[in-house]
Symmetry: C2
Subunit: 120 residues, 2 copies
DNA sequence: TAGATAAATTAGCCGTGTCTAACTTTTGAA
DNA sequence: TTCAAAAGTTAGACACGGCTAATTTATCTA
């Protein structure tokens, strides 16, 4: 959970300037109270900073985690695409797969990606 | 959860002749009461048949699900191995990845597997 | 600037999956 | 054949992630 949240929060801050619960709820297909509760957990975990009724900010730890997650996400998607999978499926599957890919496997994906690029 | 359980139950029946809660608990690194409760849910879902204090059997539906899961598991592991990932990591990662692989992606894995075999 | 609307929170519920402690049933050895 | 050890179950607790209904706060608009 935490990974998907910080990832989305980072993206919202980048694209919208701020991360709002209502956006998060829409993106995850979840109701606002669920977001409120989960954001509290993120705050308790030191990943997020925020005051009630205000936008959500990432802590340093949160930003670091977000960056790692976004990188992993990009690699997994790119890898699936390189296998000829359509974009929609690649995105959907990557959203789950990304949470189970070890460093070893991620590196193997990157390596395979390079091969497929050189081999056209 | 159900997928991992029926998969393991099928394997235990095949290798040991029967599936016992104590073995399931060990394999999943979980305590026996957890297994009891989860097996009850499997029974409620019509995947498993059993009487208290006796071994666990799969229903037809359970057996079908188990077969599908084992097939997916084998393909994901084989695919990761074909990328040069070590067996331990491949098994560990596959255990999570298998639950997020769509039919489309599974087919892409199979296809890539064939390519890697022909290309030696 | 008042009032309506939108956004967010709180309270309380539920199902899942985990645990420990205590109990019951089965089993296997003496 | 008995009875101790192993296996399994029950009871009760907890954290997580989801929900609805009701309330509170912020925002926009007339
Ligand atoms: Mn994800
Ligand atoms: Mn992601
Ligand atoms: Mn699994
Ligand atoms: Mn598996």
């Amino acid at each position: 959970m935490a990974e998907d949240y910080v990832e989305l929060i980072a993206e919202l801050i980048e694209s919208r300037g701020e991360a709002r619960p209502v956006e998060i709820a829409e993106r995850f297909g979840v109701k606002p109270p669920t977001v409120t509760k989960n954001i509290s957990r993120l705050k308790a975990a030191g990943l997020v900073r925020r005051e009630p009724y205000r936008a959500i900010f990432l802590t340093d730890a949160g930003r670091e985690l977000a960056e790692a997650c976004r990188r992993r996400h990009r690699i997994v998607v790119a890898f699936l695409l390189s296998l000829g999978i359509d974009e929609e499926t690649a995105e959907r599957d990557a959203e789950g797969i990304e949470h189970h890919v070890s460093t070893t496997t991620l590196e193997a994906f990157e390596h395979a990606l390079l091969q497929s690029q050189s081999g056209k």
